[in-house]
């Protein structure tokens, strides 16, 4: 590389101006998102916040009720706490499983060359299938009487349970069905793995660093940014989990798969109570945001950014 030292002796004035210019450039780069936010997100956001302070039926009279929606949701509505608890349980199992299983699969795929394209496509296959069909497939699999799963179990002499009809099992069934779509997470981690320079491993191997230590000291730290990404997006998708449960169990049996997102959905589209649904959305928004910020803060301990902007040491790199 051609090193030019001429540029390293600028006047103070020039440095200031160039910092200003650099800010402008930065804003230009992120301007598509800023404009998009102003056009397509900010309005709906303000609107929904306003709605949450109103008794807002889809049609008919609207009236300002202050914090009433929030109050009756938190203190009078058993459905709120029940659905929130189910969602937390779901997230607590789904998120770690989703990441660990995706990571293991990605590692396996990382180490093969023959037919790697086939396997990658195979694991991604479920993510290609659209919601309507996905659910039809799962209801065939889980069906008590005619299902694929219980038919398989019958070969080993097990009288299969009623997967979606048993309040204790239905949530397990939903978790399995959701994990089946881990292909996307796996691909993200695989892409991350591929981006780790091979030289690091070569050097480590030469120095006699054992495989497990390479995993702990090279793979995991280098994959940190991608792991953080999957962590946060998994939390978000766990809380927004709706389609599968809505179509597969309709929240049942006995409300055992009645997720928080479904609670919001029902208030909006079944009870036509948009104000209440908006209040629920904001509660969910705040919970997910706090969780995500917590993970972010915690991640500073284990995520290593190769390309961090380091000029200012005190800065928190979010």
């Amino acid at each position: 590389m051609d090193m030019t030292y001429a540029a390293a002796t600028p006047a103070v004035e020039k440095r200031k101006r160039s910092a200003f210019a650099r800010h402008i450039v930065a804003y230009l780069f992120i301007s598509p998102w800023i404009l998009g936010f102003l056009f397509f997100t900010l309005g709906p956001l303000v609107f929904s916040l306003t709605m949450s302070f109103y008794d807002w039926p889809v049609v008919g009279e609207r009236s300002f009720v202050g914090l009433e929606n929030y109050r009756s949701m938190l203190f009078e509505d058993p459905q709120f706490w029940e659905s929130l608890w189910i969602t937390v349980k779901f997230a607590a199992i789904y998120v770690p499983f989703n990441i660990v299983m995706s990571f293991l699969l990605a590692l396996m795929l990382h180490h093969i060359t023959f037919a790697s394209g086939f396997f990658r496509t195979a694991f991604y296959l479920p993510s290609v299938i659209s919601g309507v069909a996905l659910v039809t497939i799962w209801s065939w699999i889980y069906s008590r009487e005619y299902g694929l799963l219980n038919f398989m179990l019958s070969f080993v002499g097990i009288d299969g349970p009623n997967w979606l009809g048993d309040p204790n099992l239905a949530i397990v069934a939903i978790i399995i069905a959701s994990l089946w779509g881990l292909g996307g997470t796996m691909l993200i981690l695989l892409t991350g793995l591929k981006a780790i320079p091979k030289e690091l491993y070569e050097a480590a191997t030469v120095s006699g660093v054992p495989g497990w230590a390479q995993m702990v000291f090279i793979t995991l730290p280098m994959l940190g940014p991608m792991l953080l990404f999957t962590f946060i997006t998994s939390i978000i998708s766990a809380f927004q989990q709706l389609t599968i449960a809505l179509l597969l169990t309709k929240g049942g049996p006995l409300g055992s798969t009645y997720f928080f997102a479904m609670y919001i959905y029902d208030n909006a589209f079944k009870y036509f109570d948009m104000g209440y649904a908006a209040a629920g959305s904001w509660v969910m928004f705040i919970i997910v945001l706090l969780l995500s910020l917590g993970v972010m803060r915690w991640s500073a301990a284990w995520v290593y950014y190769e390309g961090e902007v380091r000029q200012n040491d005190g800065e928190n790199n979010a």
Partner: protein, 270 residues
């Protein structure tokens, strides 16, 4: 020995992921008599290939396909351009308000769709975009938070020294984005392209809410119309599902090579 073990595990696992697709295909091609036999029919006695054509011809799927292609292709292009620009901006610059803005960007992923729907509809209605494909295309040109986040994380694994070296060479910010980061990002961009393609291809709510007229409908809306209020046309759902899977699968099979060859990245970094 280790390879054998690895491959056996992969074959077993992948069978789990493929089995349901196999089942869908077999459902599509079965006679209606075999559809609900018990024990289930794994290998139909007759193959009714005509089920595919029959399902396709039950609705104007040709029109739906055109609409879906327009939406998917145009919005994917927009998503790739805008998200990579924004991600680069967040990953490689320090500027006032960057961190709060980034948190805001993340926060936009967390708003449930239910409450955004009506105000968005109002807005598109005001713009005269209802019953056109624009609401499904234009927002993609304004960067999606999920993809910005993904690309930003990816860029941040690239050593800063590369940028600095280029700057020493007199490259400006856009050059660095265009000539260094875009090529480096290729695997992640392919990922973004794939994910966005799949989202747009399988999107149901957007088309449902913003399109009125069957001549504007997309494939997923057509598919959902086999599920009536009381009766479900299982064979047609399965048949159309199989057809709908093929283009993205073929595309993915081609695209995944680029994900594999992270080689571009490591060679520059070395």
């Amino acid at each position: 020995m280790r390879k054998t073990l690895l491959y056996s595990a992969l074959i077993l696992l992948s069978a789990l992921f493929i089995a349901p697709f196999y089942w869908t295909f077999m459902t599509a091609i079965k006679s209606s008599a075999e559809l609900y036999q018990f024990p289930p029919v794994f290998w139909p006695s007759e193959w009714h290939w005509e089920n595919f054509a029959a399902a396709w011809n039950k609705q104007p799927f040709g029109t739906y396909l055109t609409n879906s292609l327009i939406v998917v292709v145009l919005s994917t292009i927009g998503q790739l351009i805008s998200s990579s620009l924004v991600a680069y901006g967040f990953a490689r610059f320090r500027f006032p308000g960057r961190d709060p803005l980034f948190i805001l960007l993340l926060a936009t992923m967390m708003i449930p769709w239910d409450v955004k729907m009506i105000p968005l509809y109002m807005e598109f209605n005001l713009l005269g975009w209802i019953n056109t494909l624009k609401p499904l295309i234009v927002p993609a040109y304004f960067a999606d938070a999920f993809f910005v986040f993904l690309l930003r994380q990816y860029i941040m694994t690239v050593p800063m020294e590369i940028d600095e070296a280029a700057r020493m060479d007199g490259a400006n910010a856009f050059d660095i984005y265009w000539r260094i980061h875009l090529p480096l990002m290729m695997p992640a961009l392919v990922l973004v392209g794939t994910f966005h393609f799949m989202n747009a291809w399988n999107d149901y709510l957007g088309p449902l809410i913003f399109l009125n007229d069957q001549s504007k409908y997309t494939l997923t809306l057509g598919l959902s119309m086999f599920k009536g209020l009381h009766e479900v046309d299982v064979t047609s759902i399965a048949a159309i599902t199989v057809i709908l899977c093929l283009p993205p699968l073929a595309l993915f099979f081609v695209a995944q090579r680029y994900i594999m060859d992270g080689a571009v990245g490591s060679s520059v970094k070395g």
